[in-house]
Symmetry: C2
Subunit: 555 residues, 2 copies
């Protein structure tokens, strides 16, 4: 127990919510989680970026040391990146069965399912990965059978909480393993790495069960259809809806690709108790009267083309929104989506429905512990060192200050950023340096990572458009044949810009004769001159910087 451990978060700290951390000791490397991130309504969305995964160049460089990937649970921000890194890393992936099910359906979509080595991880059954022993402990969270990892390393034991809260009345009856956490505290925990999502929310987080009664009361008041949106991975919430539907005499039709497939998968694996009399499919819609229907839809964030967005504008043929219908947004608002959600809500109101969300009714409970939950975790594990993980910097800072107020000496609390390397030995923790980290942008269309140059071009194209300059050039006399052709797309409107185009052509002729006079009769050089010269000219005239694409056809 006197070796050294390096802990290297590659994401999940600060702005980039893709959880992924490398642990290295004694020449062995393991990866805890491999998340991805949807760009949401960020500007990159409009640049053709479908999702972002962490930069794994550090792992690729040290691939020989890598022993495996262990996943705390199956949420996209923890497990969604596996299918984008596994073909390069080729190591076993350990997770609970539901998580493995979700991972393999993603792998199948990308044609990689044959190559992946997926291994089931069960609570309280440690697995050995080189110098590490990873012991999965149950913690309560909005995903079934989520794990906190107690990891034995050459430097000592660390606890990596994953996402958690302490829910004493979980829907599936499986409580967090408080006893083992306390025992670890007794045995000695070198460092605690703990979920900071709600580090600035006072109190104890409400139990998932607390949404049951409000939902039941509201369901009983409803006269027309019920539309309920939640995350497709929120199995406990889905269980509550299925259970309540039976009690209030309604049938449930799941809608949205992920909602339908996740429910199917979770039922098959036994994570969801379903009932054929209650759980129906779209084929049953024609038969179910409005006052007996619950549509359980994905798209709670107002994502375009999601089930909820289509329902809101009456694009789902079998379900027409009518006065008297009741819409539930039983989910949190992911920052950045407020505007899209607001517009969706307005569309429902426009059709006469009423919309209830978690700001006004207690119909959502967070899966992440509040300050009292976080204090309990610290008290149970009594770590020597403390590192807040999973959160934006202000949450990490709030969590760090909470840990200090719990009696952990300030010099043992480490506020890290993604890419930093924390060196841990039994009596010391220090930042040793940095490894490359950041986001890789994935464009599913071209099926690969897109680089910064490509995104830079797209960004200019988006705001300033493109001007294609076609020249026919007599290579001998270095004179233009005919007029330069100009094609503007997304830059200016040709009908408004004849004067500008005339001036641009004059400028082009001048640039051509300048290169000719210089004796530098080179097409490559001419194209460069055209790009710089026209860029400056157009910038001055229009305050815009279109991409300039010269195409010289020389004879």
């Amino acid at each position: 127990m006197s070796g050294r451990l390096e802990v290297i978060p590659l994401g999940g700290l600060g702005e980039f919510g893709m959880n992924c951390a490398a642990l290295r000791a004694g020449g062995d490397l393991i990866l805890v989680d491999a998340g991805m991130m949807l760009p949401g309504r960020r500007p990159v969305t409009s640049l053709g970026v479908d999702l972002m995964v962490p930069d794994i160049s550090f792992l690729l460089e040290n691939r020989r040391q890598l022993r495996g990937i262990v996943l705390t649970h199956g949420h996209e921000d923890h497990a969604g990146g596996v299918s984008y890194v596994i073909d390069q890393l080729r190591v076993p992936v350990y997770a609970n069965r539901l998580t493995l099910g979700l991972v393999s359906s993603r792998l199948r979509e990308r044609g990689l399912d044959k190559e992946a080595d997926l291994r089931s991880l069960e609570a309280d059954r440690p697995v050995d990965l080189g110098a590490f022993q990873v012991e999965p402990l149950r913690v309560t969270h909005s995903f079934p059978e989520s794990f906190c990892f107690a990891i034995r390393t050459p430097a000592g034991r660390i606890v990596w909480t994953g996402d958690f809260k302490f829910d004493q009345t979980p829907i599936d009856g499986h409580r967090s393993n408080l006893a083992r956490l306390a025992e670890l505290g007794q045995e000695g925990v070198l460092a605690l790495f703990s979920d900071s999502t709600n580090a600035d929310v006072p109190g104890l987080s409400p139990s998932e069960s607390s949404v049951r009664e409000p939902l039941e009361n509201l369901f009983r008041q409803a006269g027309g259809k019920i539309i309920l949106a939640t995350f497709a991975s929120s199995m406990h919430r889905i269980q509550i809806v299925l259970d309540l539907a039976r009690e209030v005499g309604r049938e449930v039709v799941p809608m949205g690709r992920s909602m339908v497939s996740n429910i199917r998968l979770a039922s098959r694996l036994g994570y969801l108790r379903t009932d054929r009399e209650v759980l129906r499919s779209r084929d049953d819609l024609a038969r179910i009267p409005p006052e007996r229907l619950i549509v359980l839809a994905s798209g709670s964030q107002g994502e375009s083309r999601s089930a909820m967005s289509r329902l809101a504008v009456d694009q789902v043929r079998q379900v027409r929104i009518e006065p008297g219908d009741l819409v539930f947004l039983s989910s949190r608002v992911i920052p950045g989506n407020e505007k899209a959600i607001g517009q969706m809500i307005s569309h429902f109101y426009r059709r006469g429905a009423r919309v209830l969300d978690s700001r006004h009714e207690p119909i959502h409970a967070s899966g992440h512990g509040y300050r009292e939950d976080l204090k309990l975790m610290i008290d149970l594990t009594r770590p020597r060192f403390f590192v807040p993980i999973h959160g934006e910097f202000r949450q990490l800072a709030a969590h760090a200050s909470l840990a200090r107020s719990q009696g952990i000496p300030p010099d043992r609390v480490h506020l890290m950023e993604s890419g930093e390397v924390l060196g841990l030995s039994p009596d010391k923790a220090e930042i040793l340096g940095r490894v490359p980290s950041g986001r890789r942008f994935i464009d599913e269309g071209i099926r690969r990572q897109v680089d910064q140059d490509l995104l830079r071009d797209r960004r200019f194209l988006a705001t300033d458009g493109v001007l294609v300059v076609g020249l026919r050039l007599d290579r001998m006399s270095w004179e233009l044949i005919g007029e330069p052709e100009l094609i503007s797309r997304g830059f200016v409107q040709p009908e408004d810009s004849q004067e500008l185009m005339r001036e641009t052509r004059a400028r082009i002729r001048r640039l051509v004769s300048e290169t000719g006079a210089n004796g530098k009769r080179d097409e490559g050089l001419l194209e460069e001159m055209l790009q710089t010269g026209l860029k400056r000219f157009l910038r001055k005239r229009t305050r815009k910087r279109p991409l300039i694409v010269p195409m010289t056809l020389a004879l």
Copy 2:
């Protein structure tokens, strides 16, 4: 009093928060407000759209009838569009002096100040505009001297509230004119058009004065610098900060272009009481010690390149954020900006500052009345008809249901959308039809409205890029001379796509020989064929749809 009035909101209802409404009666037209809207973090931002103004084609068609524009107050969403419509409409603009000051500085920027006819509007001094008499009444709001309009029309009197709340302790001492509103109620109000912004917030809105004490307490606790962000048009809030600065012994340095110029304008016009010992400029920064400094900055929404965003990342040379500094966000969060604001907050924390916002401390008061304010307006004016204005549809719906609960019969409550024409006569209100309405997108670079086609091109360019195809063609034999040239920008990465480019060239050769074989040897036709043929081919191969720009050189 038996004529008919048409009320036509051209914006401000539903998603498009550019307030602007036309009133028409007896062959005369007036416009109440002419707002604009910043695209914020919406996808259009990245399409080079700087701002949006209402579609005024209805006004252009009826320009001869237009008698003037009356502005309730100077916020951008009510007055910011004037400089984009006035050159086409050329009618007098009436507003309070501060609003006129803001409007003329915008007109100056666009070189239109010489042409505009700006006329000062004062409380309780009605102006006649053809068939209309517009009587401005003071209401309290976050902009000084805001007006509610009582408008005499051939059909009867209407009340157009503008933005308001009922603040009994306003900072400038000017209360809402409750007496006149009550008198109008006695005389008879045909219709009330009332601000719906906070129609779903229960209770009475807190007074602007209520933020004074919390701010004072926090100012007194601060040991280091104070950075306070608010809207540059929030003159009452700025007054509070200036007053408190003197009391706690600090000096105030305004930062950000709009903050500096608005403070200068408002002081000059007497809307702000300033004090040379307190209000300083950037030149004084070197001299003022941290514990005596308040930086009053614009950019509370995390706008890129704003004073606040630059402060957060230490880009303001004279002001380095340090541990112990206290940052106040004394403003609301405009929906859609949450992510940008969150990132800005994290940057301040990263530098050791603490950030206080209105979610945790009562350091902001809305300028818009809550439900009890709205009820009071209805009770005072006792209108025959009621129309909620200024809000997203869910707020309008909440306001309509509130009006019904106040005793206005449901058939006299009209939920309108922008572009609808409401016909009002003394005993009847009905929707008569629609006029064109919507957003005009302004690209300041090309200094004009951009049309849908241009935006469509930019949207495709942004996500899928452009492929330029250059061909040399022998016009006689209809055969290609050399290989087709391909230039991809923002589409695929050439080094990853040699196979794709090879296939594309083969496809081009086939398309050329097909047009040749058909005997349709026409370059225009060939280019069309290339566009459709390649679009389909690339779509299938890459799931992307780049703009395809063919350029043919026929010899």
